[in-house]
Symmetry: C2
Subunit: 171 residues, 2 copies
Amino acid sequence: MKSSHIVRQQYKITRDDRQTLLQQKPLLLWFTGLSGSGKSTLADRVEQELHVKGYKTYLLDGDNIRHGLNSNIDFSEEGRKENIRRIGEVARLFIDAGIIVLTAFISPFKEDRDRVRQLLPEGEFTEIFVDCPLEVCEQRDVKGLYAKHAAEKFRTSPASPLPSKPRNMQK
Amino acid sequence: MKSSHIVRQQYKITRDDRQTLLQQKPLLLWFTGLSGSGKSTLADRVEQELHVKGYKTYLLDGDNIRHGLNSNIDFSEEGRKENIRRIGEVARLFIDAGIIVLTAFISPFKEDRDRVRQLLPEGEFTEIFVDCPLEVCEQRDVKGLYAKHAAEKFRTSPASPLPSKPRNMQK
């Protein structure tokens, strides 16, 4: 294609155009809670409900994020912060594309979640704290994190795959 | 919500479900070419054509990537590689969501583009080399990169914001 044939168009397809085409307003539903609290299960269920009603959704979770985009992030404090930051930025792109996004990540720190909230226009970020008692989460121990944490206590290791305390998860 | 009320559903909303709802097959249109070659302009035009036909699209370019997700990446060799890797991973998520993605990045290295290609199922990655003569790109010099490059030559600086030679861009 010859460059002289390119007519420069100033207008791009906008966020509004995409919303009109998709016939919906995008939204980020941010599920937060302890490991085993049921974030993914609930997000799944909500996505199913939305999908059968014709809403265009996408679910970001460990399955599609940790092995892909965030595969080069470690579990250090900096790493965890960067993990949430990237998820927030990806969610923002999906929102911009007009999609309803659901995310299911422990995301224990209010500061990190608030940073994501600030990426989006007012009212497009909804935080859902999956308020499941610690004992129930421990009992489920889907990923074996609580057993690992208990074992680590004997070694008095400073690093732990768990958020220190559910306190940070509450408002 | 009490955890006992949660009925575990094994089935998630799948890639196929989303394609059915969106009534399209997703695709990544990867525009590559020199700075000033017209990648963004062309990608814009193609997106407009697709949009008016009812296709659900999203365009990833410097505007929405460099200031957000990839704002913490420098212009070193490693940085450029990571830049393209993340774009590829984000495109993969959009493809998984059922969206037709267009990307407009210089992406001079075949190796990096091929890595993105390998992220996707066969036939879902289409590379579009915007084959604009170097002289025309230099003349346009939309971002002032060529002027900067010329200036740097006098200082015999090893670093340059430009891909060394269009050679890498060709098949």
